[in-house]
């Protein structure tokens, strides 16, 4: 706010300075021209000062008016009309004031009448210039404010969307896990307690991660393993996992909760599209200074329900990657020999870009 005020002040000084120097130069010029026509110096000076003070007043009127009313359509007609009208007004005011002062000097009054047309044309050009300039100036200012507002809106929308994308936790998972715990309490209370522990840790992780945007792969992996352990209790022997992670990948950074929906997807496809044992492979490595994570699950090409391609889980990940990095090529999908492979590349940003 404070900056805006001082900027406004600076602008006003600038405009006033421009008008004053214009006044100075133009008055000098006018005095010289009038002297050439044989009008005495004192008359010429009075004439120049009065006509140019009036000119400044008219210009200030135009500028001030434009601040409150900016024509949207027919801008140019508006400028021309305003210039014609105000030039007329200016001429009238000037002649009336000069007539009041020098009505007895008939020679001077005659020359005033003779130069009326040229004075009018010059005034028209000046006021026209002033109108067009201030029109441009205020239009530009308005556009600046508009684009600022638009940027703000986009940023807010993006944050909201990211928040939503991060938050998608399947309620099915939760209820089915609770059901498993319920089943275990009768016969294997120790196991039930252990699963409650795991589920709590997982949920706590979810809550914590909603706040932070970035995390290390090691941390994300720990969280994923928790999720996988719970799913293994649910599905028993059917679900197995194979996780391979290069040492240097562990400290690389990625958006938090990015991989969980990916693995969730893999489990969903793996377990619901095939019958029998399912192995989910997760590998992480450093490729071209990017973190590359690959998730692989078996699937059945002939029945994979969404022939539409990606399914909701993957499209939301793709959207999130685009919002964060502005790129569409970070998520790739391969279908190979009854295996569905998802490869995700995460560029590493400078330290200062993480928040």
């Amino acid at each position: 706010m404070a900056r805006n005020i001082s900027a406004n002040k600076k602008n006003s000084i600038l405009v006033l300075g421009a008008l004053l120097s214009w006044f100075g130069i133009w008055s000098t010029l006018q005095i010289m021209i009038l002297q050439d026509f044989g009008i005495s110096t004192s008359r010429a000076m009075a004439d120049a000062v009065i006509s140019n003070i009036l000119m400044i007043a008219v210009c200030l009127l135009v500028i001030n008016n434009m601040r409150y009313y900016l024509p949207k359509r027919e801008k140019y007609w508006y400028s021309i009309f305003v210039s014609i009208a105000l030039s007329g007004l200016w001429l009238l005011l000037m002649r009336v004031s000069l007539w009041g002062l020098f009505k007895n000097d008939t020679a001077y009054m005659l020359s005033l009448s003779q130069t009326a047309l040229i004075r009018y044309i010059i005034a028209f050009l000046m006021i026209g210039c002033c109108t067009v300039l201030s029109l441009l100036w205020y239009t530009q200012k308005e556009q600046q404010a508009d684009s600022l507002r638009k940027q703000d809106m986009e940023r807010l929308a993006r944050e909201a969307e990211l928040h939503k994308l991060r938050q998608q936790l399947q309620p099915h998972f939760l209820f089915n896990s609770l059901n498993s715990i319920s089943a275990l309490t009768g016969s294997q209370p120790e196991k039930a307690r252990h699963m409650i522990q795991q589920l709590s840790d997982f949920l706590r992780g979810t809550l914590k991660k909603e706040e932070q945007q970035w995390t290390s792969f090691a941390e994300e992996l720990q969280y994923l393993q928790l999720y996988l352990e719970i799913e293994k209790v649910r599905f028993g022997y059917r679900l197995q996992t194979n996780i391979q992670c290069e040492e240097e990948a562990t400290q690389m950074r990625l958006p938090s909760m990015l991989l969980q929906p990916l693995v969730e997807n893999a489990i969903k496809f793996g377990l619901y599209d095939t019958i029998g044992e399912v192995i989910i492979f997760i590998t992480a490595k450093k490729v071209n200074n990017q973190l590359q994570v690959q998730v692989q699950n078996p699937f059945d090409e002939t029945t994979a329900a969404p022939l539409k391609g990606t399914g909701f889980g993957l499209s939301s990940i793709r959207r999130r990657l685009f919002l964060l990095f502005g790129r569409h090529d970070l998520l790739q999908i391969k279908k190979d020999n009854q295996q569905f492979i998802t490869i995700i590349n995460i560029p590493q940003l400078n330290e200062s870009n993480y928040n």
Binding site: S182, A183, T274
Partner: protein, 241 residues
């Protein structure tokens, strides 16, 4: 009384088994991991009652029921809370929302004893109306189960009590009405062009006049199918012509 438990999660089956211990007159004939095993077990044991999960590998619980000619009584056990549940609720068909308590389970069993449950057929129809899976059609083909993604369906033709489903892999029969398919298939992709035909709009290559008031539609597969007056109006609406 014979019962079968069909659920892909072992612990969920264990839970039902445990609750069933207080019903000595009910014997558990089989436990199944998925719908395929379920169909086999039902044919083999002819149970009076099944406990059925909805989300299961390959085919879901509803699709499995569709493939059984005379389904037994069904108690759904599911964590699904979507539309289906609402429909069940209002029609008082039996479902147990996971995780469920012994009390809730006992209530379901009591209802069963009092014969107050809706017929299974009504339950299934209801579930299908509320729409869980219209992106594929499950049919029986020479005793095998075939899953047809709807995008592969070229057109449907009425054939008495059945509907013929034309796909690149051949023609399949399903005991349903045309109305059922008209309601359940995505309306922007499938158009009822005639009393006896529903066509996949993606495959239309030409529509040409034929006799008075009627048209013919040509598909990329080479099929030439009649279009009725009302069908032509629907066609124009969907295709925006």
């Amino acid at each position: 009384m014979k019962a079968i438990i069909i659920d892909d999660e072992p612990l969920a089956r264990m839970m039902v088994k445990e609750y069933l211990q207080s019903y000595p007159h009910i014997s558990i004939a089989a436990e199944c991991n998925d719908g395929f095993e379920g169909i086999k077990a039902i044919q083999q044991h002819q149970p009076d009652l099944i406990f059925l999960d909805i989300q299961m590998p390959k085919i879901n619980g509803f699709e499995m029921l569709e493939l059984i000619d005379h389904p037994p009584l069904v108690i759904f056990t599911t964590a699904f809370e979507e539309y289906a549940i609402k429909a069940f609720d209002t029609h008082a068909a039996d479902y147990l929302l996971k995780p469920f308590s012994k009390e809730r389970f006992d209530k379901a069993m009591l209802k069963l004893q009092l014969q107050k449950v809706n017929s299974t057929q009504a339950t299934v129809d209801l579930a299908l109306q509320t729409n869980l899976h219209t992106n594929r059609i499950v049919v029986k083909d020479n005793g095998k189960i075939k899953i047809i993604p709807v995008a592969q369906v070229q057109y449907l033709e009425a054939a008495d009590d059945y509907v013929k489903i034309f796909t690149p892999d051949g023609i399949f029969l399903k005991k349903k009405t045309m109305q059922h398919f008209e309601d359940s298939l995505p309306s922007q992709e499938f158009i009822r062009t005639h009393r006896s035909y529903i066509i996949n709009a993606q495959l239309i290559t030409r529509i040409q006049p034929h006799e008075k008031d009627s048209h013919l539609v040509l598909l990329t597969t080479g099929a030439r199918l009649p279009v009725s007056k009302a069908g032509y109006a629907r066609l124009k609406e969907v295709l925006g012509i």
